[in-house]
């Protein structure tokens, strides 16, 4: 589905408010080809902006265009769009295979090609064994993979991925980051949102910072990264053997403190980027499996404080 020229997505002074509440202030941006990271703290308006950009909600002002055409309600354009929502909700009574088959068929893929495509997606996202299980029984990581699979199912050239790495284990995270980077290299226009800077940095250098419903800055990630390392970060790791992992991590550089709490290891580090970089190797060395990673505080908070002069 990728054409010769990358798809160009434009937001022209797009804004959305619900009554008195401004969900997204006036936002203009233009992206075309490659991965763009949309960074912002939780509640900054990333998800609403994503929905506006994907034509899922009507803007209170402004317009979103894909290659010069308004996206909202333009049914044919959705052949070119893939959307991975932030929400974990999936229709629990479908099996993984049924869900993908239905969505691929609805995307207009020929009937005879649906099954091979489903098989390919299930294999690519390591869901073949769970293909005939109902989605209600899928773990968070499996749900995340299925959400990515359905977004890519019809080979779209514009992809919206709202916090796509949430709840993934480190290995899947690493694979997903690689895949997203490659999608950008293939010439697709990929928008990825996150509230974790190191995650986005692994996918792209181009970022847009969202703060309090406004686009605060656009540019190269290195400029932002330089503001980060001196600030500490708290990371939570869910794993089957938290005590063993904690005793291993406490001996590592950059780890300032470790606590065990309800099946989780809570790690305090003063160098977030180095921590995220080293973590996969530590996990391999310790032989521990981690099911989920979450950042408990927000390393972007200090960046926004700096940029907004607060």
């Amino acid at each position: 589905m990728i054409g010769t020229a990358p798809a160009r997505l434009e937001a022209l002074e797009v804004g959305k408010w619900f009554g008195e509440v401004v969900a997204v202030g006036s936002c203009s941006l233009e992206v075309g080809g490659g991965v763009v990271g949309l960074l912002g703290q939780n509640g900054a308006g990333k998800t609403t902006l994503f929905k506006l950009l994907a034509g899922l909600i009507t803007p209170s002002r402004g317009e979103v265009r894909l290659d010069g055409q308004p996206l909202r309600d333009h049914v044919a354009l959705y052949r070119r769009v893939g959307f991975c929502p932030e929400s974990d909700a999936l229709p629990g009574w479908f099996t993984g295979r049924e869900f993908l088959s239905m969505l691929i068929r609805l995307a207009g893929v020929e009937r005879a090609r649906v099954k091979p495509r489903v098989d390919e997606l299930l294999e690519r996202f390591e869901l073949t064994d769970a293909a005939n299980r109902r989605l209600g029984g899928y773990s968070k990581g499996m749900r995340q993979k299925l959400k990515l699979a359905q977004a890519l199912a019809h080979d779209p050239d514009v992809l919206f991925m709202d916090e796509p790495l949430n709840g993934m284990d480190p290995v899947s995270r690493h694979q997903a980051i690689g895949a997203i980077r490659q999608l950008g290299e293939e010439g697709r226009t990929v928008l990825v949102s996150s509230h974790i800077l190191p995650e986005v940095e692994e996918m792209t250098r181009r970022i847009i910072l969202i703060h309090r419903s406004k686009v605060l800055a656009e540019g190269d990630v290195t400029e932002i990264r330089d503001l980060i390392p001196e600030y500490p970060t708290v990371v939570s790791l869910r794993c089957p053997q938290p005590r063993e992992l904690a005793s291993f991590l406490v001996r590592q550089n950059n780890v300032m403190g470790v606590e065990c709490d309800d099946g989780k290891v809570v790690v305090r580090t003063e160098h977030a980027l180095a921590f995220y970089r080293d973590l996969p190797q530590w996990l391999l060395d310790s032989g521990q499996a981690v099911e989920e990673i979450n950042t408990l505080d927000d390393d972007l908070e200090s960046v926004f404080a700096y940029l907004t002069d607060e």
């Binding site: 899922l56 009574w93 479908f94 690519r124 080979d155 895949a179 490659q182 293939e186």
Partner: protein, 282 residues
Amino acid sequence: MNRVLNNPGPTAPLSDVLATAVVAGATWRELARRRRLLSLGLLLMIPVLMLLAVRIWAPQDAPPNVVLPLLARYVYIMFLLPITAMAVGAPAISEPIAEGTLVYFWTRPIRRHALYLGRIVAAAIVSCGLVLLSQTAVFMVMLAGWPDQALSLDLMRLHAETTVVTLLGTVAYTALFGAFGAGLKKPMVAAILFAFGWEATVTKIPQRIQEWTLQFHLGNLVHWPEADSRDVPGLIENLLNLALQREPVPAWESVVSLLVVSLVATVAGVLLLRGRQLDKQG
């Protein structure tokens, strides 16, 4: 360079009819697996149990040609059809909205009316299937309990007519509650208020205002045996008609009313869904 995924081949948006059929097929499977369907199936066996009770304790006093219209009017139409439509029709539309799974359909190149129609058609098929099973079970009991009468042409015709009326009612209620699901935050509450508040009350208001209910038109279509004041059901029916001044209207008027309600509710549901915005999780 290796691609993340291979190209799936050419794509072309599905026609509205085909998109509706794909959504209906998938929704049918989804609805048919829900546990609540089992409870609903058991609930729909109540008429069968009632008929069995009549067969055991009063086979002569209440022959099937009297019991069948009574079951249709006072059990199916008043309770079972609205409950079935509530349990299947409203959630078929409201659950994807409430759960946020609608986003997967909205980001596909299909029109929103195809999505609504696919889901409501599937809900109607599931609801009608359940009611049809119940009606079939009723017929089987009649066949076993009153073999001579059950095979008579008159009773078979009466049963067929009753079945068609209940299916028509199921479709009308499902369409209506589906529209509730598209437009209201708490469609079940609205459906309960409608079925057991509005319908139950307004059908008891004398004069033509009763015609503003589905119950009236469904009841009007049930072939009622000639009321004979010498037997108890006939006496009750005559008294009710007298008290409520329940004047029948021509059958075609009731059929048209039910079809119009189904159509208007479906159009309203489509418009309500089209106007919906995915602004909940954000």
